[in-house]
């Protein structure tokens, strides 16, 4: 009943032609650009990697072997685990979570400041300054960070000049450059949803709480954060999903010994030309991140609808 109302209102507001066009475009986007390609990847992930001649032949049957490979490796007896790939998987998920948490703590004060000093010219300038670096392409930004974090990069030079260290620190091998790069790559996706919700907070509520004697800590805990929760979760969702699925930053900023799970996927597709195996790995990553996001939303009592606000 309620759904029906939404649709009739939608057509009333937009007209039949425009309404059909909008629905058509959204459906095209969803079906042809998202659902069908993902379904074909899902299909791939359950098939053997066969030579072209045998595709569609009697050997082309569904199998779980691609998924088994992630868990048990090439050992078909299932005696040992594929510790290398599983470690990379767990590390990727945990590191993406840490990057997300780090971004939350970094962006919250900034978003609060931006959101509460409404519309002043200075704030608009700050926002523009935050956006402009993102005009530069992702790979270039990653290489720039690599230079900054390099042995004789800006950061090491500065640290040594200030006598904070005598030897250059190997930021790349210790993955500091990688985390910084991932954090930096998606930080605006955290900042802007937070900024938007905090900007919509009525300043009088903060003053009312202050008038009743609340400390700044309590004002944030009881008033600002509950209000900003949808924005925080929506930003966190995007940063987590994109960090876990990032490729450029790990490729360029990752240490020689550390792999990101997406790099494994990339290797299966590109180096081993085993799309079926790559698809299985990608599906596992996708499903895990979705489950994690839904769980976190459940824990923090945020609905899907809140995120869209």
């Amino acid at each position: 009943m309620k759904k029906k109302m939404i649709f009739s209102d939608f057509f009333k507001n937009n007209g039949v032609v425009m309404g059909c066009l909008l629905i058509g475009l959204v459906s095209f986007w969803l079906i042809f650009l998202i659902i069908l390609p993902q379904l074909s990847m899902l299909d791939y992930s359950f098939r053997f990697n066969l030579p072209p001649a045998e595709v569609g032949g009697p050997k082309d049957v569904y199998t779980l072997s691609n998924y088994e490979h992630l868990i048990y490796g090439s050992d078909t007896t299932h005696q040992t685990y594929n510790t290398v790939d599983l470690k990379v998987f767990v590390r990727t998920i945990i590191a993406a979570m840490l990057v997300t948490i780090f971004n939350i703590f970094l962006c919250y004060p900034l978003a609060y400041f931006l959101g509460q000093s409404k519309g002043s010219g200075f704030v608009r300038l700050l926002v523009v300054l935050l956006i402009i670096p993102y005009w530069i392409n992702e790979i270039l930004r990653a290489f720039a960070l690599r230079i900054i974090f390099g042995d004789s990069g800006l950061l090491n030079e500065a640290l040594m000049f200030l006598h904070l260290t005598s030897e250059p620190i190997d930021f790349i091998r210790q993955d500091i450059a990688l985390y910084a790069g991932l954090g930096y790559a998606y930080i605006l996706l955290m900042l802007f949803p937070m900024y938007n919700v905090i900007e919509s907070l009525d300043r009088n509520q903060i003053e009312a709480a202050r008038d009743m004697g609340a400390s700044w800590m309590r004002i944030h805990r009881r008033i600002v954060i509950p209000h900003a929760k949808p924005g925080i979760v929506s930003g966190a969702t995007m940063v987590f999903m994109l960090s876990a699925g990032a490729l450029a930053a790990p490729q360029i900023l990752g240490g020689p010994s550390s792999l990101w799970f997406t790099q494994l996927v990339y290797q299966w597709f590109n180096d081993s030309l085993n799309w079926q195996q790559g698809a299985a790995y990608a599906i596992v990553l996708l499903a895990s991140t979705i489950i994690i996001v839904l769980t976190v939303m459940k824990i923090f009592k945020v609905n899907m609808g809140d995120i869209g606000k």
């Binding site: 509520q205 709480a209 202050r210 609340a214 209000h227």
Partner: protein, 370 residues
């Protein structure tokens, strides 16, 4: 019933950059008073309230609450509670959590808070509604929750920033009575900000009328209505007919002014301006619409005005007759409806009279803009 805590503003001036929002305000508010600041928007009344609540420090002067200088004491440490224009209830907290927020801040247990909140809910006739969210309440109920929330901390002074302005007319009038009753029950000092003279006059013990950062008059509502100190107060509070002229003669506290259109008119000099008018000065005389009546043939010409009728409106309890006045201004006469069919005919020339004691003269000055 406490006797209430006095609030004194001593030579308060508040500047924002080059702009002076409040200029040299001196106000003594008695403990337990319902005191209103009345003025058009932008006159600085909210600024004064923010200085009392501690959200801003005056550029000059002192705020004393109960005789204690409040300089350097933040809003969270002052014995005041503020009710915001938009109420600023916390939308994500239940009603009882809203009401008891000040106790939560003070570290009271949930049971204590709930008990106190329920008591206050009973007081504002919202018993049993504590578990709702503010969005589930009506406008008037939200209003009462905001009052209960402010009273929960047992403040010495309650500050109200136009809290009724968002309500519809009926509810607003009802809440006036209710606010006044609550104030008398709890016995604390209320400082009320409004641009609505009806609210100020009905609820307040004393009213300060403000114009562009300056307090023009502080007095009881009755005196402000009957003896306005300045042309601004006379024209801002209630309806008034203004007659401009030059002072012709003064005897005691009565003066005769010569107007262009209506000849010589006799009236009282408003008490605040006695001794400040001299013969030949530009003056303004004010007569309320209800103080005018149709003149008998033998009326004294110094208290009669002759003018042509422009229009007549039936208001239910009264007739409003609009007549051609000085300088394009209309003269309004209000005649109670005692069963007459009509008072006048359009274009008719009427003679109106008034009692000299019901009209006030003062030096010419700025009027409230319509």
């Amino acid at each position: 019933m406490s006797s209430g805590v006095a609030v004194d503003l001593e030579n308060i001036t508040i500047r924002f950059g080059d702009f002076t929002a409040v200029k040299d305000a001196n106000v003594n508010i008695n403990g337990g008073d319902f005191f209103s600041f009345l003025g058009p928007s932008g006159c600085g009344k909210t600024t004064i309230l923010r200085a009392v609540s501690g959200f801003l420090e005056p550029s000059e002067g002192r705020v004393l609450i109960g005789g204690n200088d409040m300089a350097g004491i933040g809003p969270n440490k002052r014995p005041t509670a503020l009710i915001f224009q938009n109420l600023a209830l916390f939308p994500l907290m239940k009603v009882w959590e809203n009401i008891s927020f000040s106790m939560e801040v003070a570290g009271a247990s949930a049971a204590e808070r709930r008990k106190r909140a329920d008591e206050l809910l009973d007081m504002i006739a919202l018993g049993g509604q504590g578990d709702k969210l503010p969005s589930e309440l009506s406008g008037g109920q939200k209003q009462r929750v905001a009052i209960a929330r402010a009273l929960c901390a047992n403040p010495d002074v309650l500050l109200l920033d136009e809290p009724l302005s968002a309500l519809d007319l009926k509810l607003r009038q009802h809440m006036r009575t209710e606010l006044r009753e609550i104030q008398q029950r709890v016995g604390i000092t209320f400082i009320y900000i409004t641009h609505d003279q009806g609210e100020a006059l009905t609820m307040s013990d004393n009213v300060a009328v403000m114009k562009a950062g300056v307090i023009d008059q502080i007095d009881t509502g009755h005196n402000i209505y009957d003896d306005p100190a300045t042309p601004f107060v006379a024209s801002f509070v209630g309806e008034n007919n203004v007659f401009r002229g030059k002072v012709k003669s003064i005897s005691g506290n009565e003066a005769v002014i010569t107007t262009n259109r209506s000849g010589d008119l006799l009236s009282r000099i408003t008490p605040a301006q006695v001794g400040k008018l001299a013969v030949g000065d530009d003056a303004m005389m004010f007569i309320r619409p209800e103080a005018l009546e149709l003149a008998p043939r033998d009326a004294d010409s110094k208290t009669t005005i002759s003018a042509n009728v422009i229009n007549e409106e039936f208001e239910g309890n009264s007739f409003s007759v609009f007549l051609q006045g000085d300088g394009g201004k209309q003269i309004k006469m209000s005649v109670p409806n005692l069963g007459q069919d009509r008072i006048s005919v359009r274009g008719e020339n009427l003679s109106l009279r008034y009692d000299a004691s019901n009209a006030v003269t003062m030096p010419a000055g700025e009027l409230a803009s319509e």
